[in-house]
Symmetry: C2
Subunit: 334 residues, 2 copies
């Protein structure tokens, strides 16, 4: 692996995405990416007693789909990296228990998928790994009652709030060649511009996306137009507007090739205010729309910059502002 | 990096521990390792308003100490890997924000330090990294109110319970030579033998320690006696007794060279029932006692197998059993 500039890592050995799986709820299925999100569920408890247990079932299905899509069996997976939004990453822990492959939990809130793929990319450069599974998920109802209010409370939503997606995505990375390669990685630095409103995550996360993107552009001596497609994780409409402003101050312009996944995931009619959020937001769209476009070579060079708001309810109740991070991966169609 | 057997990784490039830092509370300072734990605090709020904010201050000090001990500055750190027991790893997130170095959060409960050092070890084999900081912490009062009851409630403790240590440890890993090398890594598989009692973590974690140790011994064709010192993380007295039984069924005997850090960290007079637990338990003893013994070459080959109980309060309240994991690192004195 080669370090470029301060923060960017260029992979020297092969790291390909050879399998992928995704699953989403009804709201996501009816959104912008409906033609790409093929696997959806109508019962978000998946026949279980609680949302949390339903989330696990969904994550388990995602992992199975990704492994099957790669033409592999569970025993072919050398390592499983990932996490979710639940406290102590319980959804992933229970799924890892059932899988019986070595597992390391990554917590990076909604940027979990790029953090995990980033680490996995580095591990291939280290050698000793054939196939690594990376996955994450989020669940609206489970997240809502953990981070904010139980649904039964029927709280009003702020106009600047986002909607945690019920969806997830999983990827099998391998040294075996496929048509989509992980080529560069940029792990982010935690940023905190003082936003304390737990509903306003887009504003909290925009500085992190800006920092990682600007450092990556500086390191690689590139600019936004050098990429076919740039996607931030889940800043939402407001957050991505803030990012456009912040990054302009740093001398870069995000043009037509830029979208925010959170902003775009729901259709306007779905009334999701600023859009979607959650660890599964960027993971599910990466596992469907973005991968489809890379495999068809419509996109040849893509940056995915998932962003994560790293607060807890305790830190929020103690008046702390929301620290955020953004991890970037560069994907190339071959 | 070379894979040995199914689960073990042997580092081929250099990965040395060049700096370390530790801090503990008064109870830990008065325990078994009092001659090794040199830095302690009497105010576990560190002059802050809450235990959680105090924990952050302690972690910040640990990281600074480790970096200074390595003869480095903050800007020399390429990556910070770590986590803590707080929901969403907030202690580490806030410290990472203040440090402004790339940060990836690892959640593996009380096995966080070996998971982080394990990943860091692999990253050195990948290349592109000069210095990586790994650290973790736990705080009795902050953990107690998050996982069990607020202290003011004054609940009775079960005879099989453990005491979350107020302590932490940080390590700077580097390609630069020092006297202690990370030589092998074995990431664990999540185990769950059906223990549902949140106070009985030793029993829940023992199968994970057994699985990782047995797989490592099988992979490397070694046995417990081939090591000067084997330390499990924080199984406590009961958990480590269970481990001895379980591992005997698999054909290995843990002898005089084996200790459990949780079991040994407090003195008998401190009335901590089965002993200590918490992410800082193995991290602080590794950063003090074990590193001292490795540097003085009293120990030449050491296995540290930190164990983590991966439940959440939600999963516990929903009747789920406690999944656990154990990650192993082999350290060698040079």
């Amino acid at each position: 692996m080669k370090r470029i500039g301060n923060q960017t890592l260029e992979l020297e050995k092969e790291c390909y995405i050879i399998g992928r799986g995704s699953i989403c709820g009804e709201k996501e299925k009816n959104g912008t990416y409906k033609n790409y999100m093929k696997k959806s569920v109508s019962d978000d408890k998946m026949g279980q007693k609680t949302f949390e247990k339903g989330e696990r079932q969904m994550l388990s299905l995602i992992n199975e789909t990704a492994i099957k899509n790669a033409g592999l069996k569970r025993k072919d997976i050398d390592l499983y990296l990932g996490g979710d939004l639940m406290n102590q990453l319980v959804s992933s822990n229970y799924v890892a228990e059932a899988m019986q492959v070595p597992f390391v939990g990554i917590y990076s809130a909604c940027s979990t998928i790029t953090a995990s793929i980033g680490i996995a990319g580095c591990l291939f450069d280290a050698g000793g790994f054939k196939n690594i599974l990376c996955s994450t998920i989020s669940h609206f109802s489970a997240a809502e009652r953990q981070y904010r209010y139980p649904l039964e409370f029927g709280n009003q939503r702020q106009c600047y709030s986002q909607w945690t997606v019920t969806a997830g995505g999983g990827f099998v990375l391998s040294q075996k060649k496929s048509s989509v390669k992980v080529s560069k990685i940029c792990f982010g630095r935690v940023q905190d511009f003082g936003v304390v409103d737990i509903a306003n995550m887009g504003a909290a996360m925009a500085p992190a996306a800006c920092d990682t993107l600007c450092n990556f552009f500086a390191d690689t001596k590139t600019k936004p137009n050098d990429y076919d497609f740039i996607a931030t994780g889940d800043l939402g409409k407001l957050g991505s507007d803030i990012l456009r402003d912040l990054i302009e101050e740093r001398g870069f312009v995000l043009g037509q090739n830029y979208i925010d996944i959170g902003h775009s995931i729901y259709s306007f009619e779905e009334e999701s205010y600023q859009g979607g959020s959650g660890a599964g937001c960027s993971a599910s769209v990466l596992a469907t729309y973005i991968m489809d476009k890379l495999e068809s070579k419509e996109f040849k060079k893509v940056l995915v910059v998932a962003t994560g708001a790293l607060m807890s309810t305790t830190s929020n109740q103690q008046g702390d502002s929301i620290p955020s991070v953004a991890h970037l991966i560069e994907l190339v169609a071959e």
